[in-house]
Symmetry: C2
DNA sequence: AAATCGCATCGAAGCGCTTCGACAACCTAT
DNA sequence: ATAGGTTGTCGAAGCGCTTCGATGCGATTT
């Protein structure tokens, strides 16, 4: 393994000079710089990460904590994770993958050992047990998701409240008066996951404002659960003409059921989904949808974390504005018979 | 930040003693050990990762290289990644997440900088460009997936050849004579991804042995592509009574189409899927399937890598035996009219 | 011509840990 | 009682890098 000292010797300069060439923290004559760079190339030198971390007390690593349970929103998580890894590299950072398994201990371990310079937490719950630790260790961090108390924290998330409002608006504008929301699994609401509640909030308040009737029903994924849920909705509100789905694994079952019951989309029923674009486009009907901007969230999280690490940037809540893409699944409400 | 020296002072011993308590590499009297452990707890000491890495030239980090493109098999990748992270922790290792983006350079960088002690590569192609580097840097590594030349490499994968054979057997045993395979997107075959070809190989040779007719058609995911593919299959082989699907995003569209065309599963058509159990169980019909044992693959990969890192373990190819779980989607072939 | 400045470079002191050799203190066996 | 072995602990030497202060040296100012 090639060391700094060997590069220095090869280039006929001192070790510190090589270091300064690498970091650019002091000016180096063009001549010397080139000689050093040439030696680095010829010897195939790579700075030793451990030594660097020790001497500079910076690891150039960002920890990413993903939820352990893989039952929810998996492709989105993956997309965020990859976006984080990619943007981190662009800033010269590597990403350490932590699972939720260790829980709060992971925060302590990473902060205490200097393994990472900062961390990004995904799937933050309203009252997350990792937050107190985060605050007291003053470990630079960014949350993806919104806890109840955001004071002293930097958070990135889709503006789910606006997302809910946007969905209702879109349907109301087309004359739909009875709208049903097919939501996440009941467990998601019981866990008080922020995004689900905020979406609901946006849905409700906007429909109140627009004078539209709104029915919300949680739904487990899968065909059977969807069948039950849909039946109940149509039983309770037979005039329902607009459906809003916020549950990836309910989308395809829903479409299959509607097809089976002879309800045409969008002629009889309009459907708006809150899901990744890929799901909306690959469904059996091109779905009008509000995308979950996974990439953007990952990128924002990294940008803000890096800003903090460099001393710029401050605590703030970044809500990404939702965008609704109209595809084939929504149209004017059918005239009441 | 608490250091070893501070712990030593607090416990009234030398730094090296504390180090030996931590590593267990020399015997320490019970008395001393307890005093040191108490000091560690009281001061909240965490060893500094960088210093440790520098002194021991081991980082206790495993690099995991996931494919950049997220278009394929995403939940499986995620599950593997999480299994890797979890089992790595159980062995005292952390996981560094690398995306395929950097390509072979990532191998060089990680190996050269001592950032990680070893690496796990996912989504290995038959003739992967990272392999030559891996061989020449003698970086301990484990591949998930099988390249064309496995010499000098340790690989973990599902035995896709046996998987293909198993699917055919299951259908043939129930009297199906005409079987169609709905495969991955054409691009997957063009890229010569090993698993797709090996599955096909197993499917073909076993159906030859059993005297069963087999038709293979690649298929993009989604409803429309599936519709076209299915139509072609039934046009070419109207007697097809068994379908084998190896494409997650074709599963639900296929079921929807069959339902729509009035073909009952399994009375008219039997369907076997090669997919994660979750997909098979959440589909609109409980699917007979061969699972992709993501967790097991991740765990195996880590176990073998750790064995290598500890000097045990050698180069070998580990093929995980497939298991077919019969659910509701397969039954006896309908009698020919 | 002397004093001042900025630039390019060097040497040395650590960063916090592991690990090796040394050395007391204590046990056995002779 | 003495040589030899254990066992438990310590001191010191690095691991490869960053960074601070010092230094030499031309260029600029007075």
């Amino acid at each position: 393994m090639v060391t700094l000292a060997e590069v220095a010797q090869h280039a006929g300069v001192s070790a510190s000079t090589v270091s300064y060439v690498l970091s650019g923290k002091r000016s180096i004559s063009a001549n010397t710089r080139q000689r050093v760079e040439r030696s680095i190339r010829e010897l195939g030198y790579h700075p030793n990460a451990g030594a660097r971390a020790l001497a500079s007390s910076k690891s150039n690593i960002i920890a990413l904590m993903v939820p352990l349970r893989t039952d929810m929103y998996v492709p989105v998580m993956m997309e965020i994770a990859i976006a984080v890894a990619t943007s981190a590299r662009a800033h010269g950072y590597d990403v350490l993958l932590l699972t939720g398994e260790e829980g709060p201990d992971a925060v302590r371990r990473v902060a205490g050992s200097g393994l990472a310079d900062g961390m990004i937490l995904m799937d933050v719950e309203l009252d997350d047990e990792r937050l107190p630790l985060l605050r007291e260790t003053d470990q630079p961090s960014v949350l993806i998701g919104l806890p109840a108390d955001t004071s002293g924290l930097t958070c990135v998330d889709l503006d789910f409240r606006a997302t809910g409002a946007l969905c209702v608006e879109h349907l109301a504008k087309q004359g739909h008066q009875d709208i049903a929301v097919i939501g996440e699994a009941p467990a998601v609401y019981e866990r008080h996951t922020g995004f689900a509640e905020r979406t609901l909030d946006g849905l409700r308040s906007r429909s109140r404002e627009l004078g539209v009737r709104l029915l919300h029903r949680p739904c487990e994924g899968g065909y059977d659960a969807m069948a039950v849920t849909l039946a109940r909705i149509l039983d309770e509100r037979p005039d329902t003409s607009g459906l809003i789905v916020q549950n990836e694994s309910a989308v395809e079952p829903l479409l299959a059921l509607l097809r089976q019951q002879g309800r045409a989309v969008p002629e009889d029923v309009s459907v708006v989904a809150i899901c990744p674009d890929q799901v909306a486009m690959q469904a059996s009907v091109r779905l009008t949808s509000v995308a979950i901007p996974a990439q953007e969230m990952g990128r924002h999280a990294v940008d803000h974390l890096v800003a903090k690490l460099e001393g710029r940037g401050s605590d703030q809540v970044v809500l990404i504005a939702p965008e609704l893409t109209a595809r084939g699944s929504t149209g004017p409400a059918p005239s009441r018979s």
